[in-house]
Protein backbone atom coordinates (compact mmCIF):
# COMPACT_ATOMS: atom_id res chain seq x y z
CA UNK A 1 0.00 0.00 0.00
CA UNK A 2 1.50 3.32 -0.96
CA UNK A 3 1.04 5.85 1.78
CA UNK A 4 3.36 8.46 0.91
CA UNK A 5 6.12 9.05 -1.56
CA UNK A 6 8.05 9.97 1.55
CA UNK A 7 11.59 8.62 1.84
CA UNK A 8 11.35 9.14 5.61
CA UNK A 9 8.35 6.83 5.86
CA UNK A 10 9.81 4.29 3.44
CA UNK A 11 13.01 4.18 5.45
CA UNK A 12 11.11 3.81 8.70
CA UNK A 13 9.04 0.91 7.35
CA UNK A 14 12.15 -0.75 5.94
CA UNK A 15 13.85 -0.56 9.34
CA UNK A 16 10.77 -1.91 11.06
CA UNK A 17 10.50 -4.82 8.63
CA UNK A 18 14.15 -5.70 9.20
CA UNK A 19 13.82 -5.43 12.98
CA UNK A 20 10.79 -7.74 12.94
CA UNK A 21 12.68 -10.46 11.07
CA UNK A 22 12.33 -12.83 14.03
CA UNK A 23 8.56 -13.07 13.60
CA UNK A 24 6.74 -15.34 11.11
CA UNK A 25 6.08 -13.58 7.79
CA UNK A 26 2.29 -13.28 8.23
CA UNK A 27 2.60 -11.66 11.67
CA UNK A 28 5.27 -9.30 10.38
CA UNK A 29 3.07 -8.33 7.45
CA UNK A 30 0.17 -7.72 9.83
CA UNK A 31 2.23 -5.29 11.93
CA UNK A 32 3.73 -3.47 8.94
CA UNK A 33 0.27 -3.05 7.48
CA UNK A 34 -1.06 -1.59 10.76
CA UNK A 35 1.82 0.86 11.09
CA UNK A 36 1.56 1.89 7.42
CA UNK A 37 -2.12 2.62 7.89
CA UNK A 38 -1.39 4.50 11.14
CA UNK A 39 1.01 6.81 9.32
CA UNK A 40 -1.55 7.44 6.57
CA UNK A 41 -4.24 8.23 9.15
CA UNK A 42 -1.96 10.50 11.16
CA UNK A 43 -1.06 12.44 8.01
CA UNK A 44 -4.70 12.77 7.01
CA UNK A 45 -5.42 14.25 10.40
CA UNK A 46 -2.71 16.85 10.02
CA UNK A 47 -4.53 18.38 7.07
CA UNK A 48 -3.36 19.02 3.55
CA UNK A 49 -0.98 21.88 4.40
CA UNK A 50 1.38 20.05 6.68
CA UNK A 51 0.92 16.60 5.16
CA UNK A 52 4.07 16.71 3.11
CA UNK A 53 6.33 18.47 5.60
CA UNK A 54 9.27 16.39 6.78
CA UNK A 55 8.96 17.82 10.28
CA UNK A 56 5.34 16.68 10.52
CA UNK A 57 6.36 13.19 9.37
CA UNK A 58 9.23 13.12 11.85
CA UNK A 59 6.71 13.98 14.55
CA UNK A 60 4.43 11.09 13.55
CA UNK A 61 7.32 8.62 13.37
CA UNK A 62 8.65 9.89 16.70
CA UNK A 63 5.32 9.16 18.35
CA UNK A 64 5.23 5.71 16.81
CA UNK A 65 8.60 5.05 18.40
CA UNK A 66 11.91 3.60 17.25
CA UNK A 67 11.45 0.50 15.02
CA UNK A 68 13.95 -1.39 17.18
CA UNK A 69 11.94 -0.59 20.32
CA UNK A 70 8.68 -1.73 18.71
CA UNK A 71 10.30 -4.93 17.43
CA UNK A 72 12.04 -5.67 20.73
CA UNK A 73 8.73 -5.29 22.53
CA UNK A 74 6.95 -7.49 19.98
CA UNK A 75 9.59 -10.24 20.19
CA UNK A 76 9.70 -10.03 23.98
CA UNK A 77 5.93 -10.46 24.17
CA UNK A 78 6.12 -13.41 21.80
CA UNK A 79 8.65 -15.24 23.97
CA UNK A 80 6.97 -18.03 25.84
CA UNK A 81 3.84 -17.72 23.73
CA UNK A 82 2.44 -20.56 21.65
CA UNK A 83 3.52 -19.15 18.31
CA UNK A 84 6.95 -20.31 17.29
CA UNK A 85 9.39 -17.49 16.77
CA UNK A 86 11.63 -18.07 13.79
CA UNK A 87 15.26 -17.00 14.29
CA UNK A 88 16.44 -14.17 12.01
CA UNK A 89 17.88 -15.03 8.61
CA UNK A 90 21.50 -14.43 9.67
CA UNK A 91 21.12 -17.05 12.41
CA UNK A 92 19.39 -19.53 10.07
CA UNK A 93 22.24 -19.07 7.57
CA UNK A 94 24.81 -19.64 10.30
CA UNK A 95 23.03 -22.83 11.36
CA UNK A 96 23.01 -24.11 7.74
CA UNK A 97 26.71 -23.38 7.42
CA UNK A 98 27.35 -25.38 10.58
CA UNK A 99 25.37 -28.31 9.21
CA UNK A 100 27.44 -28.05 6.03
CA UNK A 101 30.55 -28.06 8.22
CA UNK A 102 29.34 -31.22 9.94
CA UNK A 103 28.71 -32.85 6.55
CA UNK A 104 32.21 -31.96 5.30
CA UNK A 105 33.78 -33.30 8.50
CA UNK A 106 31.81 -36.52 8.15
CA UNK A 107 32.86 -36.89 4.51
CA UNK A 108 36.48 -36.33 5.56
CA UNK A 109 36.19 -38.98 8.27
CA UNK A 110 34.71 -41.47 5.79
CA UNK A 111 37.51 -40.64 3.33
CA UNK A 112 40.04 -41.31 6.09
CA UNK A 113 38.58 -44.74 6.71
CA UNK A 114 38.32 -45.54 3.00
CA UNK A 115 41.92 -44.57 2.25
CA UNK A 116 43.62 -46.20 5.20
CA UNK A 117 45.55 -48.69 3.06
CA UNK A 118 46.65 -45.89 0.76
CA UNK A 119 48.02 -44.06 3.80
CA UNK A 120 50.06 -47.12 4.68
CA UNK A 121 51.57 -47.20 1.22
CA UNK A 122 52.49 -43.52 1.41
CA UNK A 123 54.13 -44.01 4.78
CA UNK A 124 55.95 -47.09 3.48
CA UNK A 125 57.66 -44.94 0.85
CA UNK A 126 59.10 -42.64 3.55
CA UNK A 127 62.48 -43.41 5.12
CA UNK A 128 61.00 -45.10 8.18
CA UNK A 129 61.88 -48.29 9.97
CA UNK A 130 59.63 -51.09 8.69
CA UNK A 131 58.43 -52.10 12.12
CA UNK A 132 57.22 -48.54 12.74
CA UNK A 133 55.03 -48.20 9.64
CA UNK A 134 52.10 -50.06 11.21
CA UNK A 135 52.17 -47.89 14.34
CA UNK A 136 52.59 -44.69 12.32
CA UNK A 137 49.65 -45.61 10.10
CA UNK A 138 47.41 -46.35 13.06
CA UNK A 139 48.46 -43.17 14.88
CA UNK A 140 47.97 -40.90 11.87
CA UNK A 141 44.72 -42.56 10.90
CA UNK A 142 43.30 -42.44 14.44
CA UNK A 143 44.26 -38.84 14.93
CA UNK A 144 42.78 -37.71 11.61
CA UNK A 145 39.56 -39.70 12.04
CA UNK A 146 39.16 -38.51 15.64
CA UNK A 147 39.64 -34.86 14.65
CA UNK A 148 37.07 -35.17 11.88
CA UNK A 149 34.53 -37.04 14.00
CA UNK A 150 34.99 -34.49 16.80
CA UNK A 151 34.37 -31.84 14.13
CA UNK A 152 31.06 -33.49 13.21
CA UNK A 153 29.92 -33.55 16.84
CA UNK A 154 31.10 -29.99 17.51
CA UNK A 155 29.45 -28.59 14.38
CA UNK A 156 26.15 -30.30 15.24
CA UNK A 157 26.23 -29.02 18.82
CA UNK A 158 27.11 -25.49 17.68
CA UNK A 159 24.26 -25.55 15.13
CA UNK A 160 21.83 -26.62 17.81
CA UNK A 161 22.93 -23.99 20.31
CA UNK A 162 23.03 -21.28 17.68
CA UNK A 163 19.49 -22.13 16.55
CA UNK A 164 18.42 -21.71 20.16
CA UNK A 165 19.79 -18.16 20.04
CA UNK A 166 23.13 -18.58 21.78
CA UNK A 167 25.51 -15.82 20.74
CA UNK A 168 28.32 -17.63 22.57
CA UNK A 169 27.89 -20.68 20.31
CA UNK A 170 28.12 -18.51 17.19
CA UNK A 171 31.27 -16.85 18.46
CA UNK A 172 32.76 -20.18 19.52
CA UNK A 173 31.99 -21.69 16.10
CA UNK A 174 33.86 -18.84 14.41
CA UNK A 175 36.86 -19.28 16.73
CA UNK A 176 36.89 -23.06 16.20
CA UNK A 177 36.68 -22.71 12.43
CA UNK A 178 39.57 -20.26 12.55
CA UNK A 179 41.58 -22.69 14.73
CA UNK A 180 40.84 -25.59 12.36
CA UNK A 181 42.05 -23.50 9.43
CA UNK A 182 45.17 -22.50 11.32
CA UNK A 183 45.97 -26.13 12.23
CA UNK A 184 45.43 -27.10 8.61
CA UNK A 185 47.76 -24.48 7.20
CA UNK A 186 50.46 -24.31 9.82
CA UNK A 187 50.75 -27.66 11.51
CA UNK A 188 52.22 -30.36 9.28
CA UNK A 189 52.13 -32.70 12.25
CA UNK A 190 48.37 -32.30 12.46
CA UNK A 191 47.82 -32.50 8.82
CA UNK A 192 48.64 -35.00 6.12
CA UNK A 193 48.59 -32.39 3.39
CA UNK A 194 52.31 -32.93 2.76
CA UNK A 195 51.93 -36.69 2.58
CA UNK A 196 48.74 -37.01 0.60
CA UNK A 197 48.10 -33.64 -1.02
CA UNK A 198 44.48 -33.67 0.06
CA UNK A 199 42.62 -31.34 2.43
CA UNK A 200 42.51 -33.51 5.49
CA UNK A 201 40.34 -31.74 8.02
CA UNK A 202 37.03 -29.92 7.83
CA UNK A 203 38.02 -26.34 7.71
Amino acid sequence: MSTTNSPLVDNYLRRLRAALAGLPADRRQDIIEGVTQHIADARLQLGPDSQEGDDAIRGILGQLGDPDVIAADALDAERGSIAAVRPPRSVRNAVWLMYAGAAVSLAAAIADIATRSELREVLARTPMARNLIGTATTATFTQAAAVNLAGVVLFLLMARWTAKGSITARTLACVLSACARWLCLSGPGNCRRSARGRRPCAC
Binding site: A42, Q45, Q63, L64, A77
Partner: protein, 105 residues
Protein backbone atom coordinates in the same frame (compact mmCIF):
# COMPACT_ATOMS: atom_id res chain seq x y z
CA UNK B 1 7.66 -2.52 28.28
CA UNK B 2 7.40 -4.91 31.19
CA UNK B 3 5.27 -8.04 30.99
CA UNK B 4 2.84 -6.67 33.59
CA UNK B 5 2.39 -3.36 31.83
CA UNK B 6 1.96 -5.07 28.49
CA UNK B 7 -0.61 -7.47 29.92
CA UNK B 8 -2.58 -4.61 31.45
CA UNK B 9 -2.55 -2.63 28.19
CA UNK B 10 -3.92 -5.64 26.30
CA UNK B 11 -6.95 -5.55 28.57
CA UNK B 12 -7.24 -1.78 28.19
CA UNK B 13 -7.54 -2.36 24.43
CA UNK B 14 -10.21 -5.01 25.01
CA UNK B 15 -12.03 -2.58 27.35
CA UNK B 16 -12.02 0.16 24.70
CA UNK B 17 -13.41 -2.27 22.13
CA UNK B 18 -16.31 -3.19 24.41
CA UNK B 19 -18.38 -0.22 23.33
CA UNK B 20 -17.66 0.02 19.61
CA UNK B 21 -15.25 -0.85 16.80
CA UNK B 22 -12.01 1.11 16.66
CA UNK B 23 -9.29 1.42 14.05
CA UNK B 24 -5.59 1.22 14.91
CA UNK B 25 -4.73 4.90 14.85
CA UNK B 26 -7.64 5.76 17.18
CA UNK B 27 -6.62 3.06 19.65
CA UNK B 28 -2.97 4.11 19.61
CA UNK B 29 -3.96 7.71 20.12
CA UNK B 30 -6.38 6.95 22.96
CA UNK B 31 -3.79 4.85 24.81
CA UNK B 32 -1.06 7.47 24.36
CA UNK B 33 -3.46 10.17 25.59
CA UNK B 34 -4.48 8.11 28.61
CA UNK B 35 -1.74 9.34 30.92
CA UNK B 36 1.03 8.06 28.71
CA UNK B 37 -0.07 4.44 29.06
CA UNK B 38 1.74 3.76 25.81
CA UNK B 39 4.89 5.74 25.04
CA UNK B 40 5.65 4.23 21.63
CA UNK B 41 2.36 4.21 19.74
CA UNK B 42 3.77 1.64 17.32
CA UNK B 43 3.81 -1.07 20.02
CA UNK B 44 0.02 -1.26 19.72
CA UNK B 45 0.30 -3.03 16.33
CA UNK B 46 2.17 -6.12 17.52
CA UNK B 47 -0.29 -6.15 20.41
CA UNK B 48 -3.34 -6.03 18.11
CA UNK B 49 -1.78 -8.73 15.97
CA UNK B 50 -1.35 -10.98 19.04
CA UNK B 51 -4.91 -10.36 20.23
CA UNK B 52 -6.18 -11.24 16.77
CA UNK B 53 -4.10 -14.40 16.61
CA UNK B 54 -5.33 -15.44 20.06
CA UNK B 55 -8.92 -14.93 18.91
CA UNK B 56 -9.71 -12.18 21.45
CA UNK B 57 -10.37 -9.56 18.77
CA UNK B 58 -11.57 -9.74 15.22
CA UNK B 59 -11.04 -7.25 12.42
CA UNK B 60 -12.82 -6.16 9.29
CA UNK B 61 -12.03 -3.73 6.51
CA UNK B 62 -14.37 -0.74 6.25
CA UNK B 63 -14.45 2.08 3.75
CA UNK B 64 -13.18 5.34 5.18
CA UNK B 65 -14.62 8.76 4.29
CA UNK B 66 -11.14 9.87 3.20
CA UNK B 67 -8.18 7.82 2.19
CA UNK B 68 -7.89 4.02 1.80
CA UNK B 69 -10.11 1.47 3.65
CA UNK B 70 -9.31 0.92 7.32
CA UNK B 71 -9.05 -2.20 9.44
CA UNK B 72 -11.54 -1.94 12.30
CA UNK B 73 -11.11 -4.08 15.40
CA UNK B 74 -13.96 -5.58 17.44
CA UNK B 75 -14.26 -7.80 20.50
CA UNK B 76 -14.99 -11.51 20.03
CA UNK B 77 -16.97 -13.65 22.50
CA UNK B 78 -13.66 -14.99 23.85
CA UNK B 79 -12.41 -11.42 24.18
CA UNK B 80 -15.46 -10.42 26.18
CA UNK B 81 -15.05 -13.43 28.48
CA UNK B 82 -11.32 -12.75 28.95
CA UNK B 83 -12.01 -9.12 29.78
CA UNK B 84 -14.68 -10.05 32.30
CA UNK B 85 -12.38 -12.53 34.03
CA UNK B 86 -9.56 -9.98 34.12
CA UNK B 87 -11.76 -7.22 35.56
CA UNK B 88 -12.63 -9.45 38.53
CA UNK B 89 -9.01 -10.47 39.18
CA UNK B 90 -7.72 -6.96 38.67
CA UNK B 91 -9.85 -5.46 41.47
CA UNK B 92 -8.50 -7.96 44.01
CA UNK B 93 -4.96 -7.63 42.69
CA UNK B 94 -5.04 -3.83 42.86
CA UNK B 95 -6.37 -3.83 46.43
CA UNK B 96 -3.73 -6.31 47.58
CA UNK B 97 -0.88 -4.38 45.96
CA UNK B 98 -2.18 -1.07 47.31
CA UNK B 99 -2.44 -2.53 50.79
CA UNK B 100 1.09 -3.91 50.70
CA UNK B 101 2.51 -0.71 49.25
CA UNK B 102 0.91 1.51 51.90
CA UNK B 103 1.28 -0.84 54.86
CA UNK B 104 4.85 0.11 55.61
CA UNK B 105 4.35 3.85 55.37
Amino acid sequence: MTQMRRGAIEYCVLALLRRREWYGFELAHALAEADGLVTSEGTIYPLLSRLRRDGLVDSAWRESPQGPPRRYYSLTTEGTAALKAFAGQWATFRETVDRLLTEGT
